[in-house]
Symmetry: C2
């Protein structure tokens, strides 16, 4: 807290001071930008999908980068996604559906293109995962700063000293939960008894018994999922969509998520909305051609996508969440005292080539 107070005191010398109002503090973006290098985790190019759309009307290239979800979430579908990308299966397919405030969807519009061999049929049980898988994932997470208890304690000190105690920062050890539960922000919401950001991914959870939990990834803006037909079909992964509006959380546990768009989202959101049922394009000419989809590590070394993500175990991330729940930067007059899990995008940034 010392640094924050000093910064605020210095700022008060040059900024207008309103009586009884707290001095300006950093915005969430400023907190992330100031995070030390040790709080950032490199994303392996092999965990990124690079989708090149046909250039726009002015000839400008349109590249979309998708981060694939790690184990234990959606691993069955992720295997299929990797096989489809390796087979260059999406090359020559298209974006076929854009439904306002819902999804942009792509794949084979003809529904006749043969799928590569070896795709797995994933059962509905894989929409959720269990405590054991979570513990394992937590143990093997490549995290430079995994001491979430220290992070929570550090944040606790800071918050105690602040006027607005943040619900988001009420990180206390719950006897029934493991350390994984402290990894970021957690609170019940309308769709899940428990929500948190686990190893950089927003998830919901439900307790099924003593020490037994079920977890599932949640549908936030930019989440990428697997189109499917009627249950019990769960989709192969060939047909994908991304969320372009208010988080459709009612899809959680009803459809598989496999990742999120981390760059080029604007090329998927600014497309004309389809005028057919469910927002499908009625005219073939409206479809947006997909030139290629590649796993990042399949590109030439110099072209491989390089990104890093803010560790959700870091003190910086905890501060970032607190600031998102309690905006105290100068524009704001009334901090909310809380935040929806889909309003906590985990900071991700490109890494400049060396």
């Amino acid at each position: 807290m010392k640094h924050l107070l000093l910064a605020a005191a210095a700022a008060s010398l040059v900024l207008p001071v309103y009586a009884a109002e707290p001095a300006p503090v950093p915005s969430p973006g400023e907190i992330a930008a100031a995070a030390p290098a040790s709080d950032w985790i490199a994303i392996a190019p092999s965990d990124l999908l690079v989708m090149d759309l046909a250039p726009d009307a002015k000839g400008k290239p349109r590249r979309v980068v998708i981060q694939l979800m790690p184990a234990p979430f959606s691993q069955g579908w992720i295997g299929n996604i990797r096989k489809l990308a390796a087979a260059h299966w999406w090359d020559g397919t298209s974006i076929n559906r854009v439904q306002d405030n819902y999804v942009t969807q792509w794949g084979d519009a003809t529904e006749k293109k043969p799928l590569p061999e070896g795709l797995v049929t994933v059962p509905e049980s894989e929409y959720v995962t269990t405590s054991d898988a979570i513990s394992e994932a937590n143990a093997t997470h490549l995290d430079g700063n995994s001491d979430a208890s220290s992070a929570a304690a550090a944040l606790g000190d800071e918050i105690t000293a602040s006027e607005e105690r943040s619900k988001a920062a009420q990180i206390s050890i719950d006897g029934t939960r493991t350390k994984a539960a402290l990894d970021g922000w957690h609170e019940r919401d309308s769709y899940a008894p428990w929500v948190e950001i686990f190893n950089e991914w927003p998830v919901g959870a439900e307790q099924m018994g003593e020490g037994l939990w079920r977890y599932w990834p949640v549908h936030c803006y930019g989440a990428v999922g697997v189109g499917r037909n009627m249950s019990p079909d769960t989709g192969s992964g060939a047909e994908l969509y991304t969320v372009i509006g208010e988080a459709p959380r009612h899809l959680d546990r009803n459809i598989a998520l496999i990742g999120r768009v981390i760059s080029g989202m604007e090329y998927l959101t600014s497309l004309p909305r389809g005028t057919g049922p469910l927002g499908f394009y009625e005219d073939e000419a409206q479809r947006i051609p997909i030139l290629s989809v590649r796993l990042g590590n399949e590109l030439p070394a110099a072209q491989q996508p390089k990104y890093e993500i803010l560790s959700t175990s870091s003190v910086s991330f905890h501060r970032y969440v607190d600031a998102r729940a309690n905006r105290r930067d100068p524009f704001f007059i009334k901090p909310a005292g809380g935040v929806n899990i889909c309003n906590i995008p985990v900071p991700i940034r490109p890494v400049a080539a060396k």
Copy 2:
């Protein structure tokens, strides 16, 4: 419930039946479409703002219709909006900012156009309104079906008979609240101790003392608000924005809302994102010209916009909310058991000319 059970029984003769799964029931959209005429309320053309953008690249007209919020919400700003529209002040201005997952904003890019006389400076205290104003609004609400207690009771019967008891439908009379609180769905969320849909508008509320509540409109997708500079400035209403992504609820009580887009939202969401700071267009040529903005009643009678909205006091609306919280239509396998207030768009439909 009888009708639903009969419908489900009939459907089971022709649809595949999965053991132990409930028979198909209507989707939220089907429930709204089946609502009787008496559940719909006409929206006065004088409460609609009609904004015509320049035609798109293919010469297609782009008309956006905005419903203005009724008293007691944002009435100070609404007066300004009506004056600006009457003065045709927005004609010749433009859309200047499109920030992905946040807002599309329009107004005078030069910031030099003189404002019409008579605009009111609205104080920050008007970001919220009080119980008294709410009671008055409820008493004067033009509602063909305002017996919310009956609606709640009718829904209660239905829900008791259903397998999945909906949190959204747990409509019980709270001793400290008035009938207004029953007008739709209510539950606390991350941003407010209480949220509900009051007389067709989503609002947050907070109890300030015995019988004393404060209410405020909330930022959902399509909400229209008033741009402002740093506090204590609250904006005149000349600069407007609409939400085009995940609901930025941290803006609640920090900035004024004046209505919502009810038609033509796709013309505001499918625009290229601005590449300048905050998503402003860097090049003047990128701005989208606004040809005219008129109050609906200022248009020739035959061109006046005709819409109606589903009364949030109606049994149909309560069923609609329950269905949104517990999707049991055939695509779904796991109803959520809850719903975020911004995932309950109040059904609105155009009325065909007679």
